[in-house]
Symmetry: none
Subunit: 424 residues, 4 copies
Amino acid sequence: MRSPIPDYLASTLSDVRDDDSGAVADYIPELAKADPDRLAVAVAMTDGYLYEAGDTDVEFSIQSISKPFVYALALADRGFDDVLDRVGVEPTGDAFNEISLEPVTGRPRNPMINAGALTVHTLVGAPGAGPGTRTARLLDGLSAFAGRRLHVDEAVFESELAHSFRNRALANMLRANDVVAEDPLITVAGYTRQCAVLVNTRDLAMMAATLANKGVNPLTGEEVVSARVVRQTLSVMSTCGMYDGAGDWMTRVGVPAKSGVSGGLIAALPGQLGIATFSPRLDAHGNSVRGTELFQRFAEEMNLHIMEANSAPLSVIRSTGVIDHGGRPLYVMTLQGSIRFAGGERVTREIVLRTPPCRRVAVDVSRVYTLGEAAHLMLRQTLERLCADGHRVYLVDADARFGPDFAGDLDVGLVTSLDEIRPV
Amino acid sequence: MRSPIPDYLASTLSDVRDDDSGAVADYIPELAKADPDRLAVAVAMTDGYLYEAGDTDVEFSIQSISKPFVYALALADRGFDDVLDRVGVEPTGDAFNEISLEPVTGRPRNPMINAGALTVHTLVGAPGAGPGTRTARLLDGLSAFAGRRLHVDEAVFESELAHSFRNRALANMLRANDVVAEDPLITVAGYTRQCAVLVNTRDLAMMAATLANKGVNPLTGEEVVSARVVRQTLSVMSTCGMYDGAGDWMTRVGVPAKSGVSGGLIAALPGQLGIATFSPRLDAHGNSVRGTELFQRFAEEMNLHIMEANSAPLSVIRSTGVIDHGGRPLYVMTLQGSIRFAGGERVTREIVLRTPPCRRVAVDVSRVYTLGEAAHLMLRQTLERLCADGHRVYLVDADARFGPDFAGDLDVGLVTSLDEIRPV
Amino acid sequence: MRSPIPDYLASTLSDVRDDDSGAVADYIPELAKADPDRLAVAVAMTDGYLYEAGDTDVEFSIQSISKPFVYALALADRGFDDVLDRVGVEPTGDAFNEISLEPVTGRPRNPMINAGALTVHTLVGAPGAGPGTRTARLLDGLSAFAGRRLHVDEAVFESELAHSFRNRALANMLRANDVVAEDPLITVAGYTRQCAVLVNTRDLAMMAATLANKGVNPLTGEEVVSARVVRQTLSVMSTCGMYDGAGDWMTRVGVPAKSGVSGGLIAALPGQLGIATFSPRLDAHGNSVRGTELFQRFAEEMNLHIMEANSAPLSVIRSTGVIDHGGRPLYVMTLQGSIRFAGGERVTREIVLRTPPCRRVAVDVSRVYTLGEAAHLMLRQTLERLCADGHRVYLVDADARFGPDFAGDLDVGLVTSLDEIRPV
Amino acid sequence: MRSPIPDYLASTLSDVRDDDSGAVADYIPELAKADPDRLAVAVAMTDGYLYEAGDTDVEFSIQSISKPFVYALALADRGFDDVLDRVGVEPTGDAFNEISLEPVTGRPRNPMINAGALTVHTLVGAPGAGPGTRTARLLDGLSAFAGRRLHVDEAVFESELAHSFRNRALANMLRANDVVAEDPLITVAGYTRQCAVLVNTRDLAMMAATLANKGVNPLTGEEVVSARVVRQTLSVMSTCGMYDGAGDWMTRVGVPAKSGVSGGLIAALPGQLGIATFSPRLDAHGNSVRGTELFQRFAEEMNLHIMEANSAPLSVIRSTGVIDHGGRPLYVMTLQGSIRFAGGERVTREIVLRTPPCRRVAVDVSRVYTLGEAAHLMLRQTLERLCADGHRVYLVDADARFGPDFAGDLDVGLVTSLDEIRPV
C-alpha cells in the first residue's frame, strides 16, 4: 500500500512551482550559477522516517542554515556561560549582514546575525583549538546532525572568501571589541568554510529532525547535543531565525526556523519532525520565495504551530491486534489522545507498512479527543486505500464525533462499538 | 490521601518569600497602598482542576494582564484583518509606556505596549459600539475567561484616569495618525477602566488556563474565543509579553506570559495549564520580582518550556484495574508516553482521588519514554504516600530505566514484570 | 537714481515663479485656502532699510517661524538655566512633528521641534503667569521683533486647535514627564494661538533683522532681547532650524534659518541683514519649495554663508600718524568699526611693534561701534603699558561711549575731540 | 613695549594647569608614553602673526585633527561632487569610532567620523594614484597648511597599525558597500600614516589660521585650497567636529573646531585667527580636558562665537567728499575692508540716496581686500546707472585687483590713483 504523504508533498510543490518571483543570490558566481527552478521538500520524523518530493538530491551550500547547528555545537563544547557571555539572544530588526552589537559590551545581539555567527564559529571545539581542528570538529558535528558525512565545496568557499569584505568588517569589529581574540581573517576563513558545507534537502530535514528529537539523530541514534542545548537553539531560532519579522513568523507559521541564501529553509517542531525546503530564488529579506510559501501552507495544513498543543506521537496508537469476532478474524486498531500531523503519520505508517493480516479492519477512535486537519486528511486517505485494496473497514466512534465527517462518501462502516460490526 | 502539588507550590513560595527587593508601583495612591508582602501562586489545569498556595484570595487590579485577553476579544469581535490593520505583532525593545509606532503606518508595533492596547481596546465589541456597550462587552469577556463575574475597582479607575497623561498622549497620537477615530479621552477612560478590573490569583490562573485550553473555559465549558484566536494571542504573548528581553524570556522560561504593574504575572502552556503568581514589588522593567523568580523555578522544575516536546496528558495512563495475581488482588496502573508536569499531575490526581482498592499496587512504567523532573518528583512522593498509607507498592520497569533512580530509599519493590511480584 | 537691489530681488522671483511643485499644507482648511501662487521676498538691513519684491503685503499665519522668537523671549524671561533645564539644543533627524525626547530626562531635544516649542511656550512671561498674561506677553514680544503690532487670526487658531491631536499628544507626554506642569490642553491652546499670529513677508524680514542686529529692532531701536539671547537663538537655528539635514543646510546655505508650514522662510545673517520669503507650496520636509530655491540662490549670489561673512580686522585702524597739535607732536591712532579679539590684536600689535614716536598719544574710538570684551581688555592693558612707558595717553571718545568704562583708574585723559587735548 | 596677549595666554594656562582629570589615550604604547602634564596654546592671526604660551615646541601625532585638512585636500583634488557622492555632511550622535553609514547608500555620514575619514583619505591626489603617491600628496598638503615640512612618526604609525582592528572593520565595510574600491588594508595603512604626522601646537594654530584665511597660508602666502573648499570644511567642522554634542558646542563655543586623541584641539574663526591647544589627558568623549576648558574661556573672553563675529558694514565707506581736482570738483568715495552683500548695499544705498553732487565721481577700491560676488554685481550696476545718469565715473584701484573684471564693457575710467584722472 502507498502512503499518501509523499503525494501531499508533491502536490504542494506543484502548487508553488510556477512562482518565479525573486532572484537567485548573485554576489558570487558560484551562487549565481544555481538553477533557479529547483524545488524540493523533505520531512523527517523524529524516528528517522523520511518523506520527500522534488529535487531532494540536489546539493547546495548550507550557508546561514549552519548557524543554529554550529550554535548548538558551541553550547555543547563550551557551555552556556561562555557562549552567552559572547553572544546575546535578543532579536534585532536589522538585516542579516548589518553590524548589530550591544552598545556597552560589544556583544553581537544573537547568533543568527553574521556578527553572532562569526563569534559562535570561534567557540566550536576545545578552547585554544587551531583553525584546522575547529573545522574538523565542525564538519564532524554537522555530519552528525545530518547522519551522513558532509563535505565542503571548495569552489564556493574560495569564491565567498574573496568577496567577504562585510564579514571581515564584522570580524575586525569583534576583534576590536575583544569579543573574539584571534586574527579576524582566520575567523572569516573558518566561517566561510562552514557556510560552504554541501547538503541536500534530505540532509537538512534530518538535521532539523535531530533538533526536533532532543538532539538525538533519528537515523544513527547518536546524541549530537543535549536536550538543553536543543531547547536553547530552538528558542533562539524562534525569535531570531527569520531575520526581521520575528513576530510575523511566530504568528503565521509558529515554528522555529532558519533560512539560507542558497535557497534552503528548515523548521523543527519539537517532538515531532523536521522539515526542509529548497528553492533558490530569494525575496528582499533573503528568504526563499517558494520556501516561505510552502511553510505557510504547512503551517496551516500540518498544524505545525507550536502554540497548538501537540500530542505525543508514540502513544496515539493505544493497541493493535487481531481478535476473534464472531468466529472470524478482525484487526482492531485503537487510537487515543490528540492526533495531529505527527500522530496521523504514525497511524498511517503503521497501516501502510504492516498491512492488516485479515480482510476486516476496525479503527476505534472513541478515545481520540482532537483530530488535526492534516491527520484527518491522512486517515481518510489511508482508509480509502485500505478499501481500494479490498479490505472491509469500520470506524468505531462511540460518541459519533468524527464518523460522519470522516466517512463522507467512503465505503466505511460507521459503528459506535465493535459489537455493532456484523460478523459476516 | 493528600496531593503533593499544593505542597510543592507552598514550598516554592517559602523559598522566595524573604526577597523584598523591588518596589510597589506608586504612580497612583491606590497602587501604592498594596501590601508589598502579599504572595500567591495558582495553577489551573486545562480540565479546570486548580492548585493554589499563598494569598490567592487577595484581589488587585488586573492592569496590563488584561491586554492579551482583550486582544483575543478584539480578534473575536472584529476578525484578524481589522485588528492586524491597526496593530502589528512585532516585539520592540522599548519600555511599556513609550510610544512605539511603525514609521509609515503609525500603527502600534504590538498589542502588549500601551499604544497597541489602547487601540485594541477600541476594537472590542461591534463596530460603532459606544463606550458603555464596549465596557460591558469587555467585562463580560474577561469574566468569561475567568469563569466568574468580575468587577471594576472604581477608586483605582478614577485615580489612574487623573494621572493618565502618558496614555492620553498615546491616544492623541493614535488619533492624529488615524489609527483610532474616536475622541482620545474616551479611549483612555475606557482603557483605564479595563485595567481597573479586579481579579485574584485564582482568576488569573483560570484565565490563563482558558488560553491553554484553546479558548474554552475549563470550569464553565464556554468557548470564550476560538482556537485560532488563542494561537494568535499566545504567539504575541511569547514575543511581546514580557516587554524588553523577548529572547531572554523565551530562552530561560519559554512560555507565553504577561505581567501587570499591580504585581500579577501569568503564563499559559498550550494544552496543559495556566499559572498565575502575585507579588506587588516590581523590578526596573515593571515585572514582579518574586513572580519572575517563581517562573524561573517553574520553568526548570515543571518543564514548562514550549520547545520541549509536550506530553498528551490524557493518554499517559494507558490502563488501570485490579487483576487477579496469584489468587490475590493487585491494582495495576500502566503508564505510557512522555510524562511531563501535566502528565504527572494526571497520574498523581488519579491515585489521590481514587485510592487503590486493594493493598498491593503495581505501577508499570515500562512504556514511559520520558519522565520530566517535575513528574518524577510528583510520582516519587505519591508512591511514598501510598506506602505510608499501608500499601505495598511495586514499580514495574521492564528496561530498568527509571527504577533505581526512582525507588532510592523508598520501600518500593522494583520489578521488570508483573510476574516477578511475589504473590504474598 | 534707482537702486539695483529691488530689481535683483524681483528678478530672482521671476526665475522661480514657474515652479509649481510641492503642495500647500492642507491639514486644516484655513491653510489649504492659501493662494499657492503667492511669492514674496523682503530683505531688511540691520539699520532698518528694507528691500522687497512680490506679494509682501499678503498676511499669513507665522506657524513654526514663531519658534526661534518665542525661544528668545523665554530665554529673556526665565534665564538660560531654566530654559536649558527643560529643552536641549541638539539637532535630531526626526521630522518636525515626531516626539523627540531625551531618554532619561524626557526633555525635548531642541526648541525647534514641536515638543520643544510647546515647552518653550510655557516658559514665556513670569513664572506662574496665566495663559492670558502669557499670550499677551508673547504677542507683545513678537510685535516688538516685527516693529509693528501683530494680531492672531482667530479662524486659523480655532481650526488648528480642533485638529491638534499630535500637539496634544506631545503636551500630555511632556506633562507625564514633568517637563511641563500645567494642563496639557492649556499648553496646546496657547501654542496654537502663538502659531496663528498673522505676519507678512516684511514683518518676517524685520524680525530676522532684529536677530541679526543683536536683538535691537532696527526700526524702533527697542532691545527686544539681549545679544546673548540672540547668540543662543541663532546657534540653535543654525543646527536645528531646518528640521533634518542640518549639515546639508549649513554647507549649502550656511545661515541660521527657520521655515513655517504656511510657506514662510527666514534667515538672519548676524550684523548684516534679515531675509524672508513667502511661497505656500511645501516640499516633503515641510519647507517652502520656492523659498528654499530662493535661499540657495541668495546663498551663492549674496555670499550669505556665515563661514565667509567675516569681519575685517585689517580695517579697524582707520589711520595713524603724527600731527602738529598746538605746536607739539601728537601721535593719533583713529579706530573704527567693530573691534573684537582679532581687531584688538591688530591695534595692540601696531602699538607694541611701532612705538609711538612722540610722548603724547591719542587713540580715537569715536568711530568704533562695538568693542568686544577681549578687545576692551587688550586695549586697556596696552594703554596702561604706554602710560607705564612714559607716554601721556588720551582716549578720544566723541560720544563718551567707551571712555568711562575704559579709563577707570588708568591715568588716561578722556576727551571728546582732539581739540580738548591740552597742548602741554 | 611688551604685548599683553602672551601674558593673557600664559595666564589662562596657569588657571587650568592644576586640573589633572581625564586620562592619556593608552590604546597604543606610543600614545600612552605622552607626558600628561604638557600644556600649550598658540594663536595665529590671519596675517601670520603668532602668539604662544606653554609647551608649544613639543611634537605629537596629529591624529583626528588631520581629518578636516585632508577633507579639504580631497575636495580640492577631486571636486565637490566626487567627495559628496562618497561622504555625507550630517552630524551623528555616535562616538567617533562607531560605524555610522547611511542606510541605503552605505555612505559614511560625515568626514569627521573614522568611516568618513578613511573614505576621504582615498580621495586625496589624482584618481588612481597609488598609496605612495597619495601619502606624498597628503604630506605635501598638510605641510602647506602648516607652512613647514611635516614628517610621519614611524613608531606611532606601526604601533597604531598593529591595533587598527576597528579601522580595518570600517574599511572592509566601506569596501563591501563599494564606497571605497581598493584593498581595505591599503586604506587603513595610509590613513594610519596620515594620523601619525608629527605637529606641534604652533603648527596646528597655523593650519587653523590657513582655514581662517580662506585657504591661504599666512606665512607662505600659498593658496593651499580654495575659499569654497574652506567654507565647506569649516561648515562640516562646525556641525561634526566635536563628535556628539554639535548643538552644545555650537551654543557654548560657537566656532568650527576639531580635536585629536593625542590631546590637540584646534578652532578657526574665519577672517580672524586660528587657535590650537595641547594637553594630552582626555575626557570620556576623547576630547582634551584642559583644551576644552581653555576653549570655553576663549569663547567667553575672546568673543570667538561665530554668531557674534560679524562684519562691519558701516565701515566699508572709509570716506566720501568732494575735493578740488585740477580745479574742478571730483566726488571721491573711498571704500575699505571686506565688502560683501551688506557692505555693497551700504555703498549702493549711499550713492542712490545721495546723488553725487558733481559730474565726476571716483570710487577708490584700493583698500578693499575682498569683494563678494553680490557686492561686485551691485557696484557694477550702481556705477552703470551713474554713467547712465550722465556722470563720468572712475574706479581707483591701486593694485589693479578689481578693475579689469569690474569695468568690463562699462564706460568707466580705470586708474591706479586719483592723480591719473584727467582734469577735464
